[in-house]
């Protein structure tokens, strides 16, 4: 594009100084942006690393929870048959303590508690004296890892008793 055309089309002719100034701005901005990108990336990376450290264990805990469930089932079975033995509870406590050190916490859920899907998962309904819609029975315990729910408590909700 020659100068004549530029004049005809109207845009003011850009002096060399102007052009350099504009380029300088552009480059400086690009530089700042690149630097900011890096700093932000480093910050994010730090945060991500923390997250990984904190919740990297969640996968492993998800594999452990069914073992804890089986333990609960076994103990309740023994209790029913009157065969529960103290040593069994001690082994369970050992396992739970070991996992607790890694941040796994068992949630307490009790009958009559208000059902909260942030903490509980409903798997059915049973007739109960508890107010309808509240928790009537805990089927499987809920677990938190570092405060975050890794498995909600599996519960049955109360429904009105059918009149006889």
């Amino acid at each position: 594009m020659n100068n004549d055309e530029q004049k005809k089309e109207g845009p003011p002719m850009e002096g060399e100084g102007e052009q350099l100034k504009r380029e300088r701005e552009e480059y400086l901005n690009g530089w700042k942006r690149a630097k900011a990108d890096l700093i932000n990336y480093q910050k994010d990376e730090g945060k991500r690393f923390e997250e990984v450290m904190k919740f990297g264990m969640a996968e492993m805990m998800r594999d452990f929870i069914p073992v804890l469930d089986s333990f609960d089932l076994a103990l309740s079975m023994f209790e029913r048959e009157g065969k529960a033995e103290r040593g069994m509870y001690m082994i369970q406590a050992q396992l739970e303590d070991a996992l607790k050190k890694k941040g796994l916490e068992r949630m307490t859920t009790s009958v009559g508690m208000v059902f909260d899907p942030a903490l509980h998962e409903s798997v059915g309904e049973i007739e109960s004296d508890a107010p309808p819609g509240t928790i009537a029975e805990e089927i499987e315990k809920g677990y938190r890892l570092q405060g975050r729910i890794v498995r909600p408590a599996r519960v049955k909700l109360a429904k009105l008793k059918t009149q006889n």
Partner: protein
């Protein structure tokens, strides 16, 4: 300008992604998950729940828990699909005033758009919380077969949720974008999408700047959920056969089995056998019953073979309908969690005779592609800085002819790296800096870029001088190498203009060569390193003998001298083990010097700490 996000609004799950610093990434929701169930519910307290929380209460609130709404959006009430789905969906629905569908959610009748909008509104809120800024614009994906009315309804849903919908994008196109296939010219791409509940096949044609959907097909009721069902049914039946107990009516047992099956299914993608171990699954008069069964990959494949075959039949029909030859297909992309199954990957590979793309998480690829489209629309910040990478490593030759890399290949430039080296001999007053480029372990196998000498180093024992070598590649690929003696401040440098001036073929050839000779190179390098160790030890041994000659008994000296001679005689040979053992023997032997000296020292306590250990 606020960011535009990409949303995969799925039948069973949804996900969102955003482009940051040129790369798309998934945005986690507030529950900390990368995908979210596409479920909306209203509970008895008349509170609205969306996503995971809605799913968690679906069993006890089936009438007011809405899922699979994507199956209904933008369809007429009389649509056969709607009539078919109406039969199995547990919630209430009716014909709307305009001939569409209305769904009962709690006490109110809602359109499918409104339900979808609730899902999108949660995605919007979660993204805003995660990114810390207001999000107003989105790209939303839909299946390629969606008609105008379904697309419009999806767009409406986005707008109800408070988005300006910048684009309704086809899911297969999004998948292709995630793999960067839009940059190809005149290619035909097949996208095989095996989701949780639906199966879709699309043929795309990429040309110029456009991606065009050439043909589509699928089955709206074929998906990974069918696999889970088939496996569960088999296990329940098998258990009944083995133990004579029917657990098909035991909700808790089924729940545990379902979870264990899902874990086993995932495990079988990487291993050939998985064990399903569920102690105390139930009990009868005889006492507790346990569930223990092995599931092999072969059995799993047998159970779902008919579903996989059906998908391949559909695939074949789509290709045939498009009047395409299998040979004409350039790329295949796998989408949907179920495509992690090796049997599916093999079936697709067998059909096309080539490997499909499957590097990107198949649950996330559509959302990531939607984010790529959003990034294009956003026209990201004008990138005046196109950063290049070094195609090959650069470094210098060090003792024993070893190539020591300072800047590794694929490092983004401009970049600089500094390393301190020293001399290899006593009283060495100059060092040669031999600058090389390549991927081989030994200097002589790589390409020499330059050589220069740094002299004027004050005479001193080997290892004492500190020579700082700086490699600096500027944005234009020009390599500056400088060497500086720390003691004198003397410096030499060289500028190499053509360090990256190699043709692509040449670079590839060199890389291939390096890969091919990796094994022999490693052996060469190892022997060089072992010799360097031997050299270093010989030097130390001879120096120690000199320094301590009057304090060490003659028999110790003789012993060491013998070992020194032994090591010298094998050092330049090629028997690695002999050099190693001779080095180890000498190393043991010279410890007698210390023992002899300390033995004496015990009688006359040390009073000159400066002569103690620490001065090498």
């Amino acid at each position: 300008m606020s960011k535009i996000i990409g949303i995969d609004l799925g039948t069973t799950n949804s996900a969102a992604a955003v482009v940051e610093a040129g790369q798309p990434r998934i945005i986690e929701n507030v529950e900390g998950n990368r995908t979210m169930p596409s479920v909306v519910a209203v509970n008895k307290a008349n509170e609205r729940l969306v996503g995971l929380l809605a799913k968690r209460q679906s069993v006890t609130n089936p009438k007011s828990t809405i899922f699979s709404v994507k199956r209904l959006i933008g369809r007429k009430w009389t649509d056969p699909e709607v009539q078919r789905d109406k039969a199995w969906l547990p919630y209430e629905m009716k014909e709307s005033g305009s001939g569409g569908v209305e769904i009962k959610l709690g006490d109110e009748w809602r359109s499918p758009e409104e339900i979808s909008a609730m899902i999108l509104a949660k995605i919007k809120a979660d993204c805003e919380a995660k990114l810390g800024e207001t999000i107003d614009e989105a790209v939303i994906t839909v299946p390629a077969y969606f008609d105008d009315s379904q697309r419009q309804a999806t767009k409406n849903a986005g707008e109800i949720a408070g988005f300006k919908v910048r684009r309704i994008l086809n899911e297969p196109t999004a998948a292709a974008l995630a793999y960067g296939l839009n940059k190809k010219t005149n290619e035909k791409i097949v996208v095989y999408d095996f989701g949780g509940g639906t199966f879709d096949v699309s043929v795309l044609e990429v040309g110029g700047d456009t991606v065009e959907v050439k043909s589509t097909g699928g089955d709206t009721h074929l998906g990974g959920d069918d696999f889970d069902k088939a496996i569960n049914e088999y296990l329940v039946k098998e258990y009944k056969k083995q133990e004579g107990i029917d657990i098909s009516n035991d909700a808790l047992a089924l729940q545990r089995l379902k979870e264990a099956t899902e874990r086993a299914k995932h495990e079988l993608s990487t291993s050939f056998e998985a064990e399903i171990n569920l102690p105390y699954i139930t009990s009868d008069a005889a006492g507790p019953k346990h569930f223990l069964m092995k599931l092999t990959r072969a059995k799993l494949e047998e159970l779902v073979r008919s579903e996989i075959d059906r998908s391949i039949t559909i695939l074949d029909k789509v290709i045939t309908d498009a009047k395409l030859n299998i040979k004409a297909i350039d790329e295949i992309v796998l989408v949907g969690g179920q495509t992690r199954m090796p049997a599916i990957q093999e079936a697709v590979k067998k059909y096309f005779g080539k490997d499909p793309h499957r590097d990107i998480n198949p649950d996330e690829v559509v959302a990531l592609g939607a984010a790529v489209q959003a990034g294009i629309l956003q026209g990201d910040v004008k990138d005046i800085l196109l950063l290049d990478v070094t195609p090959l490593s650069v470094g210098i030759e060090t003792l024993g002819g070893i190539f020591t890399r300072l800047i590794e290949k694929n490092t983004t430039i401009p970049t600089a790296k500094t390393q301190v080296f020293s001399t290899a001999a006593d009283s060495q007053t100059s060092v040669e800096i031999h600058v090389l480029q390549g991927e081989r372990q030994m200097a002589s196998d790589n390409k020499t870029l330059a050589r220069f000498i740094l002299d004027g180093i004050p005479p001193s024992p080997r290892g004492m001088p500190q020579i700082k070598v700086i490699f600096d590649i500027d944005a234009n690929g020009i390599l500056n190498v400088s060497a500086k003696d720390k003691a004198t401040g003397k410096m030499q440098s060289v500028k190499i203009e053509a360090s990256t001036g190699m043709s692509k073929e040449e670079v590839e050839r060199l890389k291939a060569e390096a890969a091919a000779s990796a094994e022999t190179d490693r052996a060469k390098r190892e022997i060089a390193e072992v010799r360097n160790n031997a050299d270093q030890l010989l030097y130390t041994a001879e120096k120690s003998l000199r320094d301590a000659s009057d304090k060490v008994p003659a028999e110790v000296k003789d012993g060491i001298n013998k070992k020194i001679e032994a090591l010298k005689s094998v050092k330049d040979g090629s028997d690695l083990e002999r050099i190693k053992s001779a080095t180890a023997e000498l190393s043991n032997e010279i410890q007698k010097i210390g023992a002899a000296m300390y033995g004496k020292g015990a009688q006359e306590p040390p009073h000159e700490p400066s002569e103690g250990p620490g001065t090498k």
